[in-house]
Symmetry: T
Subunit: 70 residues, 12 copies
Amino acid sequence: MPDGIYKVVELVGSSEESVSKAIDRAIAKAAVTLRHLGWFEVTNVRGHIENGKVAHYQVTIKAGFRLEDD
Amino acid sequence: MPDGIYKVVELVGSSEESVSKAIDRAIAKAAVTLRHLGWFEVTNVRGHIENGKVAHYQVTIKAGFRLEDD
Amino acid sequence: MPDGIYKVVELVGSSEESVSKAIDRAIAKAAVTLRHLGWFEVTNVRGHIENGKVAHYQVTIKAGFRLEDD
Amino acid sequence: MPDGIYKVVELVGSSEESVSKAIDRAIAKAAVTLRHLGWFEVTNVRGHIENGKVAHYQVTIKAGFRLEDD
Amino acid sequence: MPDGIYKVVELVGSSEESVSKAIDRAIAKAAVTLRHLGWFEVTNVRGHIENGKVAHYQVTIKAGFRLEDD
Amino acid sequence: MPDGIYKVVELVGSSEESVSKAIDRAIAKAAVTLRHLGWFEVTNVRGHIENGKVAHYQVTIKAGFRLEDD
Amino acid sequence: MPDGIYKVVELVGSSEESVSKAIDRAIAKAAVTLRHLGWFEVTNVRGHIENGKVAHYQVTIKAGFRLEDD
Amino acid sequence: MPDGIYKVVELVGSSEESVSKAIDRAIAKAAVTLRHLGWFEVTNVRGHIENGKVAHYQVTIKAGFRLEDD
Amino acid sequence: MPDGIYKVVELVGSSEESVSKAIDRAIAKAAVTLRHLGWFEVTNVRGHIENGKVAHYQVTIKAGFRLEDD
Amino acid sequence: MPDGIYKVVELVGSSEESVSKAIDRAIAKAAVTLRHLGWFEVTNVRGHIENGKVAHYQVTIKAGFRLEDD
Amino acid sequence: MPDGIYKVVELVGSSEESVSKAIDRAIAKAAVTLRHLGWFEVTNVRGHIENGKVAHYQVTIKAGFRLEDD
Amino acid sequence: MPDGIYKVVELVGSSEESVSKAIDRAIAKAAVTLRHLGWFEVTNVRGHIENGKVAHYQVTIKAGFRLEDD
């Protein structure tokens, strides 16, 4: 996080495969509308179980993006 | 929370009547501009006191809404 | 909590009406199989939203019951 | 909380009826001796169970009151 | 978590391979005796080190299962 | 905690003498029905006061036991 | 904690001997001026070291006392 | 926080001078696009070090603004 | 904190200038009625915003004072 | 953690590939200078984003090593 | 903690007898190599169970020592 | 925090003047023996009171430094 002003958004990504795929999907989705995404932090890992197996992982992240200078 | 990507927003609702009314008001207000609101979580309950009585309750919630597919 | 040994269980109750109804339902259900329930503590309040309104509240509680003397 | 110096006290109120009644009772009791109570925050919700039902709710709050100018 | 009453159990799974394998093993074991497992949440990730390498990961989860209607 | 799958239970033990006696009593009680208890962690220490003295200590612990292989 | 309204105070007791002695001393001191002390909870255990040994333990507790009916 | 519905945003401000300057810069930046900013809360203070000195402070705040009536 | 019994009070100080001025004002006010104030700890830093600028800082502290020997 | 005295160090490992690779790298680095590393615990997972993708994961761990008998 | 710069280390001590003995052993061990140890704080109390009894207590502490002036 | 392996140390700095001076002094002291200090995070702000005024501030920080490649 170099010098600058950041806004932080909270996102939940999900994936049937893994925790990191869930992170990747949340960030990819956010990057469609938010430029200058710079860092993320994982705040929660959970998921759904179906028939005694993990159906999908859900990962909550906070992601920061630099606000552009006016 | 079925499969998908969610964004989480933080809101404070208030009500002179009860904690649950304060939650309802925050969600109703958010629903005007946010479609696909799916869940909420209470993170703080507080309020103001006037003349030795609760003047209004203030409830902070996080609410998640599914980001639409592009 | 008078003198004795307690076991603590974690439960999630839900209700379409209110937070306290969700607590009541979780405790009533637990009381079917657990005797000597003595106290509870709320650890989380959340819920689902449908059409911009609270569809039901979900309250997580920890409840303690005294283990009977052998 | 407008400008000023506040002292914060911690109180536990109880009620057989509801969480909000327990809050109201704690604040009413505190208001007998403390002037200028301005706000409260809920820090814990728990209660006692008798015969498989909530016997009474106990709510811990922090309440702030403005110290009078000398 | 649709409407219903859930019980939450805490489990520690371990795996020599990865964090997610440790989660999978804990859930598979729990599913032998618990029907209706619906969700899980990771509360701790730790592990043992031998000869300067991770010997196995240990992941603590809370898992919720719906209590059947009587 | 060597390799294996553990279940974690939460217990409250009490003693008129000391915090460690309260821990010992909770574990002794749990050991009557749970085999393979392997570790514990203290999560809360509290107690009751009568006539200005500690009447008994109450210690909440989490205790883990290895699930047997099928 | 039977029905009633409680006030909670925070105290730090110290003892050269043990943690429990530090608790006892804080409660004995508080009981001089506060009637109806009913329960306590330990929130912090720390201490001072002199010459590589514990010089005294300092234990922070919260203690609740019932407010008398007017 | 008078009566009303608030939205809370999370921001990171930075300054080479002081923590409070970092707060001021984050709020000034937010105020360009958000009307009715009413309060803030500091949730994290960190910073970067260069050549053994603080290069700049980074302060994370949550800031609430009242949603306008429709 | 040398040997002795301490009581801890919670205070909120405010200042238009800075966080440390808010701390100073809370302690100066407390010192009018409390002798033997020995230490403080900051538990919360927040503030009010007016016209896009910090109107005043509000700092919550816990302050401990030694109870006099009887 | 068998009987003995441990020291705990805090480390941040990073990897472009995965969270577990970041853990592995931190432990491998620590093992160069610290003998008897016995366990670790993950305390934070974060990372950097470049061009809308995770550039690298950063995992903070605490790792314990047994102090050798003199 | 008088004026000065301190470094804080984290240690885990164990004892078959009691929590305080575990603290004492960790501090005695640290004092062999660290001069000027001034204070400690308990951050975790856990232990191992064998045959339904506490085999040994493990206490995690943070201990601070003053860095000597150059 | 660019790519690399970091170690994190915990320090307490003090100053009679201000919180930021206390941070500066802790970092300056650490920089005498630790190269590559890259970032810090404030984890606690407290201080001592004498004659009803702040005698000095004590700030606990965690500071990370990059481990050099071998």
